[in-house]
Symmetry: D2
Subunit: 138 residues, 4 copies
Amino acid sequence: MITEITVRVNYSETDQMGVVYHANYLVWFDRARTELMRDTGLTYKELEKQGVYLAVSDVHIRYLAPARYDDPVRIRCWVRELASRRVTFGYAVEHAERGTLLATGETALLSLTHQHTLTRLPDHVRALLQPAPDPVRL
Amino acid sequence: MITEITVRVNYSETDQMGVVYHANYLVWFDRARTELMRDTGLTYKELEKQGVYLAVSDVHIRYLAPARYDDPVRIRCWVRELASRRVTFGYAVEHAERGTLLATGETALLSLTHQHTLTRLPDHVRALLQPAPDPVRL
Amino acid sequence: MITEITVRVNYSETDQMGVVYHANYLVWFDRARTELMRDTGLTYKELEKQGVYLAVSDVHIRYLAPARYDDPVRIRCWVRELASRRVTFGYAVEHAERGTLLATGETALLSLTHQHTLTRLPDHVRALLQPAPDPVRL
Amino acid sequence: MITEITVRVNYSETDQMGVVYHANYLVWFDRARTELMRDTGLTYKELEKQGVYLAVSDVHIRYLAPARYDDPVRIRCWVRELASRRVTFGYAVEHAERGTLLATGETALLSLTHQHTLTRLPDHVRALLQPAPDPVRL
């Protein structure tokens, strides 16, 4: 299962080089991951209500081509790996019209309690987060 | 009493017009307000521990001249008005070397409980937040 | 003419009070204003290509109720006033499902050349930016 | 040579988990890298004036412990590797008082012309960016 969202680059996301500032890709990843969770039927909001917090523990991003103001940008997100207390998501960022690959990324998230201690991902959550093969080379 | 901080404009704060994106001034105001509180002897962090939350209810900003990448920027902050459940801060943003006035602003903050209901500012807090005359015309 | 967009509150927009950090409303305003321009048939991107830059000169925001994580939020945007070198936009921010008014705002933008000097808004641009009556009390 | 900066966590950087949102570390890295450049005697601002742009091409961050509101945070930055058209920086993020290691990171930057094509780092720039051994394990 691969979730796909499209965002429009806002002025606030550009920098004086005339491209999207690199930190903003992490927010796009977050938006895509949130929609992937929603697509599974269990929103991240509901997961927190059940006492499970997912905290980012590892980030890797490779930037291939710049995104520019007002570009429509598609972010695809999928589960790469699932462990007992960790889930890893993959991302591909593309120009939504031209299809150019702009960036790829990966984030690992740890399952925490409200007190920030590691906890097993509940089985009903693990069942929803099935890994998919990478659609692009990360 | 007027508190003064200096920040250095970071690349992340610029936009493709080559100037600081306007929303970032609110973060500078927040930084200055936090230091004003620290200067009174009661940090905002400690205030929250005492169960008092200050939530921004009104913002006004006037932009006079752009701030640019790597500019040293001075933000002055002071209390403008104090009411039983509200405190209003004033701000002046200047180029730290040239002294040019870049922006002025005002934010009103309401005193809330953790449950987001209005509450009186405790007397010991009110005693610390004494209004000062505007050092610049807002 | 009133333009309407809907955004979903992302985790990055929340703060430790559990609500949307106040500066983010300016980014929502920007997104709505960009879509209003697109709706007129002249995107802001195209306007910049024609050598006209709109720089925010005045901001006013009133916060009425907090927006929270994962809330669907509707932002309505319209032209309030049009002068020879300035255009003022109004904004209403609402919970997209419950309809609660969360915030109102206004931003004035000045028409600048690429060299940041004031310039008249071209007639074909002025013709597109017709003021509308406020749909809510600002 | 290792450059060190200290920042104070602002409310705008926190999220509803009560910790610093993960994307903000990239801004801290940027601030530290900017000061490292300044320490070499050639600011990044001056480098851009000379026609050389450094664009982030690769990011890796490992988060070890959360940073919280009002924490003083120290970021150390150094050059890890220098190639003809690429420079890689390392980062260590620590609680400035307790010394706890909060995160480590690495960013690779490519040397570009104003037209966004790859270009060799000029010799006088390469001479300033001498790699240092990692002070912590990345």
